[in-house]
Each structure stands twice: as structure tokens, then as C-alpha cells.
């Protein structure tokens, strides 16, 4: 959910864009990270852990912890918490360790 009013901050949202998550269309704003847009749409599960396939979501949100790795436009292990979302991006939940070669 997005904050509309805040006593200290003002959120200027840039141009509205769309991308897909597991084939589903998601609304986002230019300048946001992929993970931020997903969370704004209520999606919290970003990947399955490599060994036991447990659901994983954001933990640090600043590119340190690797809990937000996803497959973005076919590239695995993208840190979605520090990667900006782009119009038409294809974002998928990552399962396993992420293969570069199919």
C-alpha cells in the first residue's frame, strides 16, 4: 500500500509504468525499485530459497543481504531492492540458485 499523506514527507511520484511479475501486470512508478513496486502491490514473496524452497522477501532493502534475488528479463540473481523498475520489464520469482544457461 502506498502512503498518500505524511506529516513530514511528500512523495512525488514520477511517470506511471507497468511491468509483469510471473506474467501478471503490475503498476509502478518510474524511479522506484522493482521490490518497492511489488510490495506496493501487496506482493511479498520474491524468491524461493535455494535449498528448501522457502518463501523469501525483502530483508535489508539496501543491496546487502541477497534475500530479494529475482529473475529480471531472463537474468537471475538480480538484487531487486536496488534495481530500478522499467516499463515492460519481465520479472519472475526466482527458484533455486538461478541458471544463466537454460
Amino acid at each position: 500500500m502506498r502512503i498518500k499523506e505524511h506529516p513530514v514527507l511528500e512523495f512525488k511520484r514520477d511517470k506511471e509504468i507497468t511491468f509483469t511479475y510471473n506474467g501478471k501486470k503490475i503498476k509502478a512508478y518510474e524511479g522506484e525499485t522493482i521490490a518497492a513496486s511489488l510490495y506496493a502491490s501487496g506482493i511479498r514473496v520474491l524468491k524461493a530459497s535455494s535449498k528448501y524452497e522457502r518463501p523469501r522477501g525483502l530483508f535489508c532493502a539496501i543491496g546487502n543481504c541477497s534475500s530479494c534475488h529475482m529473475v529480471v528479463d531472463g537474468v537471475p540473481n538480480v538484487k531487486t531492492c536496488i534495481t530500478k523498475v522499467e516499463q515492460g520489464m519481465i520479472v519472475q520469482e526466482e527458484v533455486g540458485k538461478g541458471d544463466i544457461i537454460d
Binding site: M1, R2, I3, H6, P7, V8, L9, F11, R13, E32, T33, A36, Y39, A40, R44, V45, L46, S49, R54, P55, R56, G57, L58, F59, C60, A61, I62, G63, N64, C65, S67, C81, I82, K84
Partner: protein, 371 residues
């Protein structure tokens, strides 16, 4: 190969002041920053700073970040690479960096490592469920992107970060179900604790989290009361409904690069973990590498900014930009930092710094990865 006088790794409070200090004294400076903007953790700190006026007290972190960023952008001696991550330090003094999907090499005369810290994890069942966040992540989502992390939060840790982030959650309209703290007393300033208590948030001291409950994401947490020896009291477990568990249990210095570069390190709990041995100019055991800010020990941003200035100035004096004023200024900055760390709140930091200078018996814990 890109050559420069001073390379700064990390564009947070320490890195930014280091860059400005060095560039103001006519050194050529490069900053590399992992994120797409400068500011480090200041860019989400909506609270006003404590301390004296000279140290920007009363100003919100986000404002300090803006001021420093603008000065850096306008400075002709500073080059900034954002979305750039340091990959490794080589024995010939070259640092490799990934930037825009390219591998670049930078050869500086001096390096200042200002990589900051990462959040500590806490061991409990299901601590990997989506909905368990570090307190910094909650601030990023909420204060940077205007996105709520959840509807009902349990905050773990009643230090300053736990208390301040709880207040920020309330400001954003999120319900804080409880703040729990394993020790017997609130670690943060009472002024912050009072603010959230007045808003109706209970703070449970001597309590810890036992497990997170939920299938795909957090739905509740089981908390338990602890005795004075931090042992769980059987039968005191209770379930608190929440969709978010926020961990504010401390930070750990990010020192991978310093370790890899072969700087002598020591485990110093007072400073948050493994930190480099350094002198009072923030120089590590490598003559060309300095450290500043949280990567040298967890402290407030005010201390990080002063350390950045000290390291920046000392580094400049060693690359040939010597001006007699530099040493007067260096002394003034060191005195100011000393003053900031005086008093009872600075006691732990003072002990830690003493060990990190190598002038107490931290010697037995020192290690290096150099052959």
C-alpha cells in the same frame, strides 16, 4: 585505468564529508556508490539530529543528505559513480569496480573505505519468512518510496533505532502492536520511548521473540518473557498478531573489502564486530587505506561525518596537497570528535576505539588475511 588522488568507497555521511574535505583542498576525488543516489542511510532518516548546532543538530537526516549531495554535484574536483560496486583490491593498489555492467579499474593514491554497515539478524524459528525485515528496510520502503511495510508491526529492540522507527511507523499510519526488548531496560533515549508510549505502544522489556508464525508471510509472532539471565520463562509465551516483524537488533560494520585488502582486523564488540586497526587519523595498517564511519565501528551519523572529514583531510595531506592550515584543522576536528564521544553515552565507543587503535591489549585478537 582511471587515475585519481583519492578514491572513496561509499557515498554515505562519512564518504560524502571525506570527499568534500579532500576536494576542497584541491585533491581529485572519485566516489563510488552502490545505490543510484548519494546519501547512504541519511536519505531515509526523517528525524532531527541530536547534539550541538555545529554537528547539524535539529536538522533532519534527509536534509543533511540533500545539502551534502548538492555540494558534491557542484564540486569540480569530485567525480561520482553511482550504481557502482567495489569488487576487489589488488596488491598494486588498483581497485576493481562493476559499473553499468562494465568492469572498471581505478588506481588511486589513497583509498577511504566508508562502506557503512549491515543489519544484524536474530535467531528464531521462521526468521526467513517474508514480513521479517531489518529496521532499515522498513525505513527505506516507508520513507524513501512511500510504501507501507505492513499494517501491524512488532518491533524487536528498544534501542534508538527501534524506538525511532516505531515512531516513524506511527507517523505513516501503521499500527505498532508492541516493542519488545530482551534486556531489562530500554536502550534508547527516553525522549523517544515516551513519544511512542504516549501514542499507546507498549514496550515490553525482558521479552524476546520465539518464532514467526505464517505460511507465505508473517501473520503473528510468539514472544516469551525472559528472566534476568536472559533465559526463557516457561509458560510465559504469548501470541501477538502482526503482519510485520521489524528487527532493530544492531548493526555490523561492512568490512569485507578491508579484510580482503589485508588490513589488520580485530573483533571488538563495543564497535559492533570485526573492525580494522587504525590510528587517530583513521589510517588502517595499510598505508594507503583509511576507514571512516560505520565500517570502522557502529556510531551515529554525526561521528561518521567527522571521521570522514578527518580521513579526507589526512589523505589529502599525504598526496602532496600540503597547506599549514590542514594540521590546525585536523586537530580541531579530532577535538570535536573527542567532545562528541565524551560523557556517559560515549563510554562504550571510547573503550572500543581504544582497542581499535591497538594501544590496549586487543593485540591477541588481531588478525590479517595477508600471507
Amino acid at each position: 585505468m582511471i587515475e585519481t588522488d583519492i578514491l572513496i568507497i561509499g557515498g554515505g555521511p562519512a564518504g560524502m564529508t571525506a570527499a568534500l574535505k579532500a576536494a576542497d583542498n584541491s585533491a581529485q576525488v572519485i566516489i563510488i556508490e552502490k545505490y543510484h543516489q548519494l546519501g547512504g542511510q541519511l536519505i531515509k532518516q526523517t528525524h532531527r539530529f541530536f547534539g550541538s548546532k555545529k554537528e547539524q543538530a535539529g536538522i533532519r537526516g534527509i536534509e543533511i543528505a540533500k545539502q551534502l549531495t548538492n555540494r558534491i554535484k557542484e564540486h569540480e574536483n569530485i567525480n561520482v559513480y553511482t550504481e557502482a560496486t567495489a569488487q576487489g583490491y589488488y596488491e598494486d593498489g588498483v581497485l576493481t569496480v562493476s559499473h553499468n555492467n562494465k568492469f572498471i579499474k581505478i588506481k588511486p593514491k589513497k583509498i577511504i573505505v566508508a562502506t557503512g554497515a549491515s543489519e544484524k539478524m536474530l535467531g528464531f524459528e521462521n526468521n526467513d519468512l517474508p514480513g521479517v525485515y531489518g529496521a532499515g528496510a522498513v525505513q527505506t520502503l516507508m520513507n524513501l518510496y512511500g510504501i507501507l511495510p505492513g499494517e501491524r508491526v512488532i518491533m524487536v529492540g528498544a534501542g534508538n533505532i527501534g524506538l525511532i522507527v516505531s515512531y516513524q511507523l506511527l507517523q505513516a499510519g501503521v499500527k505498532v502492536a508492541a516493542v519488545i526488548e530482551a534486556s531489562g531496560k530500554i536502550g534508547g533515549y527516553l525522549v523517544h520511548a515516551s513519544k511512542i508510549r504516549r501514542a499507546g505502544v507498549p514496550i515490553y522489556t525482558n521479552h524476546s521473540i520465539k518464532k514467526a508464525i505464517g505460511e507465505k508471510s508473517v501473520q503473528a509472532a510468539e514472544v516469551v518473557k525472559l528472566d534476568d539471565n536472559w533465559n526463557e520463562i516457561q509458560g510465559s509465551e504469548k501470541i501477538i498478531k502482526a503482519d510485520t516483524i521489524c528487527l532493530a537488533v544492531g548493526l555490523r560494520p561492512l568490512t569485507d573489502l578491508l579484510i580482503q585488502a589485508g588490513c589488520e582486523m580485530a573483533y571488538i564488540p563495543e564497535l559492533g564486530g570485526d573492525v580494522p586497526i587504525r590510528d587517530d587519523n583513521l589510517k588502517t595498517t595499510n598505508n594507503n587505506i583509511f576507514v571512516a564511519g560505520d565500517s570502522g565501528g557502529i556510531e551515529e551519523a554525526t561521528a561518521a561525518m567527522l571521521e570522514g572529514e578527518i580521513a579526507g583531510l589526512k589523505a589529502v595531506s599525504e598526496v602532496g596537497h600540503i597547506d599549514s592550515n590542514i594540521f590546525t584543522e585536523l586537530k580541531r576536528l579530532k577535538d570535536e570528535l573527542k567532545k562528541l564521544r565524551s560523557g556517559p553515552e560515549g563510554k562504550v565507543i571510547r573503550q572500543g576505539i581504544k582497542k581499535a587503535r591497538g594501544d590496549s591489549n586487543a593485540g591477541k585478537n588481531r588478525y590479517t588475511h595477508l600471507r
